[in-house]
Amino acid sequence: MSVRVYVPGDMAAVAVGADQVATALTAAARAAGIDIDVVRNGSRGLFTLETLVEVETPQGRIGYGPVDAADVPGLVAAGLFAGGAHAQRLGPVEALPFFARQTRLTFARAGLTDPLSLTDYRAHGGLKGLETALALTPAEVVARVKASGLRGRGGAGFPTGIKWETVLAAPGPHKYIVCNADEGDSGTFADRLLMEADPFVLVEGMAIAAHAVGADYGYVYIRSEYPFAIARMQAAIDLARGDGWLGRGFDLEVRVGAGAYVCGEETALLESLEGRRGQVRAKPPLPAHKGLFGRPTVINNVLSLAAVPFILAEGANAYQDFGFGRSRGTMPIQLAGDVVNGGVFETPFGLTLGELVDDIAGGCVGGRPVRAVQVGGPLGAYFPRGLFDTPFDYEAFTARGGLIGHGGVVVFNDTVDLAQQARFAMEFCAAESCGKCTPCRIGSTRGVEVIDRIVAGEARAANIAVLEDLCETMKLGSLCALGGFTPYPVMSALDHFPEDFGGADARRAAE
C-alpha cells in the first residue's frame, strides 16, 4: 500500500519551493523503496509553515514544516513516511493553535482535499448545499440566504439575500451570476486560496445562486496576477460540467482581468467583462436591475458565494448563530505583512484587532513592536495600538473611522513611516483611478503633492487644512470606493500618527 503524502500546490507554497519539495520527496521515496502517492492539496492557510508536508499515518495526518527541498533527505532518514520524529515535525496540523482556534465553515475543506477531486469533494460534504437548494423553490433559497445574515464579503457588507431577491424579482429572460474574484487589495488572499484549495465550493455557490435567481450564465472574473487560481477554476468548471452539475440550464466561464485594480469595483468589473475600459458606472441603475449586458445580474465576491453551500447544507441558523452584532457568520481574516503567523484565519466576527494581531498573528517577526495595522486593503485605515480593542465587525470598524473591507490585516513594525504610507495611498489611487470622476482622478495627484509639502515643512498648518479639505471632497464626491475611500488611509495616518508628518504639534496648529 502506498503512503499518501500531501504537498501543497497553491501559489504561495510553490513560491517558496513546494514543487522542488515534491520532486525531492518522490526521488527519496524511490531510493528508499517506499511507494508514495503525492497529493498536491491547497495550503492549509498558515503560510509561515510552507512548504507544509503532511503524511497520512495510522495516527492521522502528521505535518512537517516549513520544509525546504534540502531538508528532505534528513526528514526521510528520520522516518517521515511513517510520521517519525524530527525537529520539523509539527504533529497533527489541526491541533496547532492557529488552526484549533478557527471556525472553518467556508474553508472547511481547504488544505484537506485534492482540490480537483470530485470524490474528495463529495466525501467532505460537497454538493449537499446544491442538492438542498435544487429541492427548494428559488424564493425559498433566497429566504434562507437572507435568514443567514450573510453580508457581502467584498467589503461593502450589503446583505447577499436582498441582492438575490432583487434579481429574482427582475424580469428575464437572461440573467447573470458574476463572481468578483478581482482580489486586488494588498494583504488579502482568501479568494486566491479558496479558488486554489477548494474551487468546487465556488462553482457550487454560483450554481445555487443561479437556481435562486433564475440565471442562465455566469462568469468568474479573476485577476491576471492569480495564474494558479485561473487554471484551477477552469479545471474545476470543466469537471463540474462533466459531472452534470453545470451545463444544464446554467453554465460558467472564467474571464481574466488585465492588471486594473479598479476592476474590483463591481460596475468597472462589468464594463471589463463587456470588453471595455474598466470605468466605473454611475448607480442607479443597480447591477441587480441592469448589470452585465444590461441584464439583471448578481455580482458577489468569492467569499460570499462560497459561504452559500454551507448555509444551504447546514441551515441558515447554523451560520447565523456565529457572529457579532449585525455581522453574522464567519469571516476568513487574512493576517499579513510583518507577522509571525501569516495566513487565513476563519473565525466568527467579534474578535478584537488586538487578539488577531498579538495573539493569533503573534506580532512582528523578531519581536519588533507593532506600530500600525492597516485593515481592509489599500483603502482601509491605519489603526494604532490604541484602537486594538476594536471588535472585528463591520459597524465597529466604521465607528472608529475604518473599515474591514475584504478582511485583510496588514501589520507594520516600528520602522514604518505613516506619512509615506499616506503618500502611497494617494499615489496608488492616482495610478489606478479609472479617470471617470474628477475628485479621484485629480484629487489623488494633488494629494501626493500636498503630503509632500507637509512633510517638507512647507506652510504645514495651511497644507494640512488643504489635505483635510481634499479628503472630504474625495470622500463625498467620488463615484466609487477608490476615490471615496482613499481618504481613510490618509486621514487615519494623519490623525493617529501626526508625528510622522513633521511634529506632534502639526494638527493642533491646523486647528
Binding site: M11, S186, G259
Partner: protein, 158 residues
C-alpha cells in the same frame, strides 16, 4: 475599412481572432490571446481586431492602453515583477528593490537597453504573508530577502 494584403502575420492574427468572433464581451480574452501568442499587441493588429469585433479602432486602442497588462512592444527577455504593495512594504520590499536595482542597474519600472531584463512593479500577488514576493518570468517567488534574494540575483546573472 481597407486592410493591407494578407500576410503570414495577418493569418496568424485571424486564427487568434476566429474563436472569439461571436462571443459577448470578447475583447479582453482576445487581447490576452494575441499578447500570449505575439508577446504584445502590435499597432498593426488594432484595426484588424476592431473590424472583427465590430468596434472602432479608438475603442480597441482605449482598452489596450487602459489595462496595465497589455503592451504594444515586445517584453524584455527576462521580466521580474516585484510586488510593491503595502503588505510587501511591511515585509521589506523596498530593501529587496534596492538590492535588485544595485545588482541590475535598473530602477523598478526600467528595462535594460539591450532588452534583456526588465524590473517591473506589480501590485499584489496575494502572497502577502510570505513577502517580499515577485513573479520571475511568470514563476512566483516569495520570501525574497537574504539568501533567497542572493540566489535570484545570481540566477539573473547581472
Amino acid at each position: 475599412m481597407t486592410h493591407p494584403p494578407d500576410s503570414a502575420a495577418d493569418d496568424a492574427l485571424d486564427s487568434l481572432i476566429a474563436p472569439h468572433r461571436n462571443h459577448p464581451g470578447a475583447l479582453l480574452p482576445l487581447l490576452h490571446d494575441v499578447q500570449h501568442a505575439l508577446g504584445c499587441i502590435p499597432h498593426e493588429a488594432v484595426p484588424r481586431i476592431a473590424a472583427a469585433l465590430n468596434l472602432s479602432r479608438a475603442e480597441v486602442h482605449g482598452v489596450v492602453t487602459f489595462y496595465a497588462d497589455f503592451r504594444t512592444t515586445p517584453p524584455a527577455r527576462r521580466v521580474v515583477k516585484l510586488c510593491m504593495a503595502e503588505a510587501c512594504q511591511a515585509r521589506g520590499c523596498h530593501t529587496t528593490a534596492a538590492r535588485l536595482s544595485a545588482a541590475t542597474g535598473l530602477a523598478v519600472g526600467e528595462t535594460s537597453a539591450d532588452n534583456a531584463l526588465a524590473l517591473e512593479p506589480i501590485y499584489c500577488l496575494g502572497l502577502c504573508a510570505s513577502g517580499p514576493a515577485a513573479l520571475v518570468d511568470d514563476v512566483p517567488v516569495a520570501r525574497l530577502s537574504g539568501l533567497r534574494l542572493d540566489a535570484l540575483i545570481a540566477e539573473l546573472g547581472r
